[in-house]
Symmetry: C2
Subunit: 379 residues, 2 copies
């Protein structure tokens, strides 16, 4: 029907791989019936994918009359992908296979601020050390503004990095991918975490600031110029404290790790949490106020976007037990009943590692995603 048979073949391959990824194990008959592909085409494509080591027969399904069908699954330990999450004081690495299974993780303490050459020397050496023959690519997560298309870090204020093209600083010949770390976190939650199969969700992360990754209709949403998700700068009190962004009363001025530590006059959010857990009333009050404003912002997001889930991620995970009840109360009392009763507010199970695991998924998206391929064949 369409002109370009090679692209259509890739589209059908991607459709089948994605279906198997989401369903874990599925028969050829079910693949054919769900995709609308003929049994013949389904058989040919899956045979190729088995020969290429993407798929294997993982079990035997239920009979629907005839003989019991083989179930196909993604093949573990066949193809690999690496994630790199760069923060101010450490680099995290994760190697996964195409099933999402974690092969290894590591963490190297290093001062990356203003120091991109030294940082990438360490990264190059770590990738070489753990190189696999069937490495599909390396994905990078950065706190800052990136241009994913040209693999360029436009601006990472905390790292004091500007306009760095990853291709210029990577010495390994392997495809590279780049995204903001809130986005990679939400990709992780959708592929392997707490939002598998969830079409519309928002992953709100605390690190030094507060940012979000937004999934709309099962796909990451980045906005007109790629900066969607800056929920830390939603104003919760127009007469509130000055924010670094120049505005007043942004969510971050009440609820970021940095501001909470400042308020309690301690060195980090970890100390605030320790104080709160030991019963210190100032710490408990500051966390309660921060939860109130997180709840106000989530109420607005719930009213506006009517998501299925809100995930609290990264540093929030360390003290979610201390704030989640207050947040849920605020949302139940302040968001409209209809969207409030349709949203689940949950805590990430991965904590601070969701970004590096999501970065490792970036090279896989290209193989499983049908979007660009659809666009290319014009459907």
């Amino acid at each position: 029907v369409a002109g370009n048979n090679k692209l259509l073949k890739e589209l059908n391959q991607a459709t089948i791989l994605e279906l198997i990824r989401v369903n874990k194990a599925i028969s050829k008959a079910d693949i054919a019936s769900i995709t609308g592909l003929s049994p013949n085409a389904t058989g040919m494509i899956t045979l190729n994918l088995i020969n290429d080591d993407f798929l294997y027969v993982s079990g035997i399904g239920e009979s629907s009359g005839g003989r019991k069908p083989d179930l196909l699954s993604l093949k573990p330990n066949s193809y690999y992908s690496m994630g790199v999450d760069i923060d101010t004081d450490r680099i995290r690495f994760a190697l996964i296979d195409i099933t999402g299974q974690i092969i290894y993780r590591s963490r190297i303490a290093v001062n990356c601020v203003g120091n991109y050459k030294a940082t990438f020397e360490i990264i190059n050496s770590e990738i070489k050390k753990n190189y696999k023959d069937k490495l599909l690519g390396v994905g990078f997560a950065i706190a800052g503004q990136v241009d994913a298309k040209s693999e360029t870090i436009i601006s990472a204020p905390n790292l004091k990095w500007k306009n760095i093209n990853i291709l210029d600083v990577i010495s390994i010949d392997v495809p590279v991918f780049l995204e903001n770390e809130s986005i990679t976190s939400s990709i992780y939650e959708n592929w392997s975490g707490i939002c598998q199969g969830v079409q519309n969700f928002i992953c709100i992360n605390s690190k030094s600031g507060i940012g979000a990754g937004i999934f709309i209709n099962g796909k990451i949403y980045k906005g007109a110029s790629g900066s969607a998700g800056e929920v830390g700068h939603i104003i919760v009190d127009i007469g509130g404290p000055k924010c670094e962004c120049g505005s007043n009363g942004c969510l971050e001025t009440y609820s970021s790790s940095l501001r909470l530590a400042e308020k309690l006059n301690v060195g980090s959010i970890n100390e605030v949490i320790l104080l709160a857990r030991s019963g210190n009333q100032f710490a408990l009050d500051a966390l309660k106020q921060s939860a109130l404003y997180i709840g106000v912002v989530i109420s607005g997001l719930v009213n506006t976007l009517n998501p299925e889930k809100i995930v609290l991620g990264k540093q929030f995970v360390k003290y979610a037990d201390l704030i989640i009840d207050e947040i849920k109360d605020v949302v139940n009392n302040k968001a409209l009943p209809m969207p409030a009763s349709n949203v689940e507010i949950v805590v990430s199970e991965e904590g601070e590692q969701s970004s590096v695991l999501g970065a490792a998924i970036l090279p896989l998206i290209n193989i499983f995603s049908t979007n660009e391929k659809r666009a290319a064949v014009g459907i």
Copy 2:
């Protein structure tokens, strides 16, 4: 390649119709090259569409070497669609053709509150009076919560209507469609209004309350349970006035037409506007404060969703000149520079009629949209 040839044919037809709709006039060669369909398939499909009166040869294009190509356009006055917008005190009607051309509009004053049977008698008679042979359907716009799939008005608080299935009250045998009026407004802006070709935008409307229609990636976004867009209940001041929704300090408590009229102790927003235009300082101050909070909410939407455009619609259009500068100032000062510099804040050119015109577009979407058809063939 895929199993179901009839569905694939419909998919290719819809793809071509949508391409022609968006481009107004386009040659078969350009259709083939953009869609990836073969020249042969393109020729066959467009010939069928010409024979069925959907398309006609509207002009002659530029030569790219050989003879000058025919340009194809949607055929005016061939197929029709009707929109009905039901408000508390009037019903609006609009008949358009598939090119979006308005054939006629009418407005009937009637008290619809609590009175759905009488309302639909009037609607049935008006549709019959203006019935066209090639009427593709009737679309309804309602301020309230609807279930578009079952054509059911779940709850329209201002109308005091609950659980009304349009199919039960419509006596004409024609396909019917139903959507919330903020959604139909945004559909109008995307098809025929100020957001043609815009992928990501938010249409914020003032009527009795304030609501929004949200377009994401060129498609209307309705959320997990269909209630997305309730931006009137975003909290702008947690210690602010009580809102009808039960919360405090929602945008509506400062900026809805109802609250502005109450504050000035007059009967309607029209009188507030008259006072402001005559220089009354109380009215000007109230509008300025309302604009401040609209700006705060838009700043949050700009930070979160990074849209290309924000459209102020419906009653806002009556007095946009009095508030737009303040709104733009607030967004420029309070949203982050990156998304703020990428958004255009504009005023709808249609005013209060955008909903009824969008309602008239609902029956057309099914013919031009490729989404459900893609899902049906599994691509």
